[in-house]
Amino acid sequence: MAGDGTTQLIDEKGKRLDGRKLDELRPIEIKIGVLKNADGSAEIRMGKNIILAAVYGPRELHPKHRALPNRALIQCFYRMSTFSVNDRKSPAPSRREKEISMILSNALTSVILTEKYPRTTIDVYLQVLQADGGTRCAGLTAASVALADAGIPMKGLISSVAVGLANDKVVLDLFDIEDQKGSGDLPLGYSPILDEVSLIQLDGVFTLEQFEEALHLGIKGAKEIYEIQKLALKEKYSAIRNEVADEIKPSKKEVKEVPKEEVKEAPKKEVKEVPKEEVKEAPKKEVKEPPKEEVKEAPKKEVKEPPKEEVKEAPKVKEKEEKEDE
């Protein structure tokens, strides 16, 4: 992988080929819950990389003899799409893909509380849709977010970034050309909460000083990525909460600012002014649309059974009362 190190990768001003500084990350965007059928999912865009991560489980493991009696098995499946690189990638799983799958499984196992779900498996699928260097790192970042989205207990998130050598200088977050023409590559998976390195690989030749510098630069980059992961995860739930607060129930602060009369009058007027016909039509749509979608999208979940016998009274079953606060 490592090149001869002769290609000019840094210009006189100290900028890299894509205009970044030596210690600058590519723009990162993380979306949560992009796949409907997965238990947890995430999409990451890191520069030109696009990777989908899907988490299924914990679930029953087949074949059963592979199950571990004391903890869950983490299985990671890293795959590159045939169209993800310039020359069509062979669709057969390559040695490289198997190796990356294994090291990512090991890295994730170190942060997941696997002993909570013995005899099960947690499957993590990583599909690379577009590759531009550093896919294993972007994949690991996405996988840990998807795992959190699936509600799987973890000690902390993993943030991952590659560090490398370009013209004997340590640079952060390699892209494709630097990866191929540069003289060294050091993918790093780091958990800022635990202050632990869960993945480290090295390709090429580093001096001891360069290695130390690379490690520190990688950790600094990982901490930046961690903030983005955190934001993406919290955003999903805060969004719903804020939406509800804005639309239906103005928050306490707003109520104080708005004069009381306006607040009281506004909703009444709306109700009176709208003609009855409109009122009739509007709710109908609302009522009918969502269930239809449901039936189409997830036919398995909704089970219809034609009533075979006359239904007597509802089975009397006491529902469990919620003891805690709402």
Partner: protein, 235 residues
Amino acid sequence: MSEIKVENHEIVIPGDLLAEGEFRCGDGVVKRGNSYYSTLIGLFQDKGDFIQVKSLKGKYFPRPGDLAIGKIIEVGLTSWIVDIGSPYFAILSGNNATEKRFDPVKDDARKIFDIGDIILTKIISFDRTKDPTIITNERGLGKLRGGRIIEIEAAHIPRVIGKKGTMINMVKRLTRTQIITGQNGRIWVQGKKIDDELKAIESIKKIELEAHTQGLTDRIRAMLSDNQQTTLGDE
């Protein structure tokens, strides 16, 4: 000494520092050194000296005593294997299925429950080493006929039921439906009219989506009574 680092009901993610000092900790909290960290994505709950994180997502984890709605996926000579939406399949043995004694020579397991049947069950035992055992021979348990089943996050079931069942009773009353909630996130709904069922399902979906917000009961009541008025107007 003891200090809580996040606000009550705040959304936390795995690895967030929750508190320092001496606390008792519940679900979703780990202690390292003198600090407490979250392990889940959920809502932080502070109850004086007790802290926990209430999960917002995740698979149902069986507990003895829970009611669960399951689907038969395999029929054996004397037992059934049931999918209850948990990481483990549940086992229903012949003697736990009906009030009568199950005789494998005379009785045919398929005639009691066949593959694909939806049953209401109770979990009677589960631990880390054994798959959950379920029963259907108590009053009210057994095959569910008619109606519809929806699946929501198991973590939101307590919200759907509400304090002392207020939420679910309100939905039942205002939509004129019968509803059974399984702790595993599956809910059975049956009404006399399809519209009623759809309305109940819509409101349950809304509860799930907004489970982590406050003042939900009032909003659902407003939504359902609006619907009721318009349908009365139609007639």
